[in-house]
């Protein structure tokens, strides 16, 4: 056995040991809990059916609000993410700027989406505007990082060539970095919107609007048939958004179809002559 193989095996044993220890610490190895848990689950599953269609109208309205929260939150988050991503790209700005901005983005990412929801409920009061802003800040934490990495991944020879033509930093961003990373930006944005639909669905747990408000209420009032209806509505919307975003991604990013690289956002912005 080589030293590398030995290290690999030791690492696997260490991970397994750590896993077992953690399971013990949180009580998962206590088998006396398994039977009551299974019985509770079975009872809960039985109570979910049949789903109550009477609340469908209310839930569809709440789901529309959830989609709006996700859409607005993603949009605002993307707009804030772009400049932050530029500032944090190590290939575009000096270390002092990029490291400071990275730390700021990291700090934003540290706060969970629900906590952002709570913060904006405190600021704005109950309602979807708090949810949208919570989703926006949560989006900034992730999208700014993903965008920044896309900017850093732009072919350095493209950057050198445009920079070498005497362009300044803003021109470099507009004429090289943005067009070259457009496919990745669109792909990340669609992914974030999909993700934010799910995140927005639970924003109502803290009073920040959307279908989560009803889900929490149904759980607290033990109205599990209504909860099932809410889960079905959420499932249908999440599936539909997944499907639509996959279709959109294929349309916008033809590289995924093996047709080479294209960025229609920027192809054909052909320059105006004054």
């Amino acid at each position: 056995m080589t030293a590398r193989q030995l290290i690999t095996r030791l690492a696997l044993v260490a991970v397994a040991g750590l896993g077992l220890f953690s399971m013990y610490r949180i009580g998962l190895l206590d088998l006396s809990h398994v039977q009551p848990a299974a019985e509770n689950l079975a009872e809960f599953a039985g109570a979910l059916f049949p789903p109550n269609t009477d609340v469908l109208g209310t839930l569809v309205d709440a789901m529309l609000e959830t989609i709006e929260i996700a859409f607005v939150g993603t949009l605002i988050g993307a707009l804030i993410s772009l400049p932050l991503a530029f500032l944090s790209a190590r290939t575009l700005f000096p270390p002092l700027v990029s490291v400071t901005t990275r730390m700021l983005i990291g700090a934003i990412r540290t706060v969970p989406s629900l906590l952002w929801g709570v913060i904006f409920v405190i600021a704005y009061g109950l309602g979807p505007e708090a949810g949208a802003l919570g989703v926006a800040l949560y989006t900034v934490g992730f999208l700014a990082k993903l965008y920044s990495e896309s900017f850093e991944a732009v072919d350095p020879e493209v950057v050198e060539a445009v920079q070498g033509a005497g362009s300044n930093r803003l021109q470099l961003i507009v004429y090289a970095v943005l067009p070259e990373s457009a496919n990745a930006l669109v792909s990340h944005l669609l992914f974030m919107f999909e993700y934010n639909i799910r995140a927005s669905a639970i924003m109502g747990f803290v009073g920040a609007g959307g279908i989560g408000y009803y889900m929490l209420g149904y759980v607290q009032l033990l109205q599990y048939e209504n909860l099932m209806m809410a889960l079905i509505v959420t499932f249908v919307v999440v599936m539909a958004v997944d499907y639509l975003s996959a279709r959109l991604r294929v349309l916008i990013v033809p590289a995924m179809q093996g047709r080479g690289v294209r960025a229609p956002l920027f192809a054909g912005i052909t320059t105006l002559a004054s």
Partner: protein, 262 residues
């Protein structure tokens, strides 16, 4: 790196042994250049080189001999650890950056932009930031870009995104972008190494024509001895980061070149 204005560069009459240079000052004078990506491992070692206008200078060397790094130092993309680069360029736009155009090995074209937009990026230093960010270029510059592309035989592909162009067509777009910088010197890295021989000859014929008729100097790196034999006005051979040979073109046979490369 120091950048000197016209009149400050060393006099070619004493600096160059070549006929074409006697009439002109060097466009670029590199003196005792040293550069390494790690300080203890120099890639360019004490290179001194004068480049004269209106000539095709080819730097021949094997992979890893320091050719690309030397071009980047000459362009100012890398800063030498020792030595200096003096650019005797006319700075009609007040910026020295345009005096030397650089075409990287992979051409550095923005694939999703059209041929015209790529060529216009060569004129960004001549357009105000606000106008260029709004994609509003002065009509004269757009006309110049159209004419430059048309002269290189791509007038019918102005609005074609670069990713749809062939290798030879992309090469022409890169040349047009370089010419839009009104350069005194074009640095081209392994310029035709990825093209088929016929397209490579077309491009090199075009480049030689531009160099001889427009007075634009060309400094081209290559590892292909036949290209050097056919097109170089001057041959510089690099090995392990140093210049080991420098002579007018046509004096070295291919076997001699191969000997120098070993």
């Amino acid at each position: 790196m120091s950048i000197d204005l016209p009149g400050d560069a060393p006099d070619a009459r004493t600096a160059s042994p070549f006929g074409y240079a006697v009439r002109r000052q060097p466009v670029v004078h590199a003196g005792d250049l040293w550069f390494g990506y790690r300080s203890d491992l120099p890639v360019v070692r004490g290179v001194t080189l004068d480049v004269y206008s209106g000539a095709v200078t080819m730097i021949l060397g094997r992979s890893g001999s320091g050719k690309t790094t030397l071009l980047k130092v000459l362009k100012g993309l890398l800063h030498p650890q020792r030595g200096s680069v003096q650019i005797a360029a006319r700075c009609s736009n007040g910026r020295a950056a345009g005096a030397i155009a650089y075409v990287p090995q992979t051409l550095g074209l923005v694939r999703s932009l059209t041929a015209l937009d790529n060529v216009l990026t060569g004129a960004l230093s001549r357009v105000g930031t606000v106008r260029s960010l709004a994609h509003i270029f002065p009509g004269a510059i757009v006309d110049e870009a159209r004419e430059t592309i048309a002269r290189l035989g791509l007038g019918h592909k102005l609005h074609e995104p670069v990713y749809r162009l062939s290798g030879g067509e992309r090469q022409r777009v890169a040349i047009a972008r370089a010419l839009m910088q009104h350069p005194d010197l074009i640095l081209a890295d392994e310029f035709v190494s990825q093209l088929d021989p016929i397209t490579a000859c077309d491009i090199l014929d075009m480049m030689r024509d531009i160099s001889h008729n427009r007075g634009v100097s060309l400094l081209v790196t290559t590892h292909e001895t036949d290209v050097v034999e056919d097109y170089a006005d001057r041959v510089v051979v690099m090995r392990h980061g140093e210049i080991v040979h420098d002579s007018p073109g046509g004096r070295l046979s291919q076997p001699q070149m191969l000997d120098l490369l070993r």
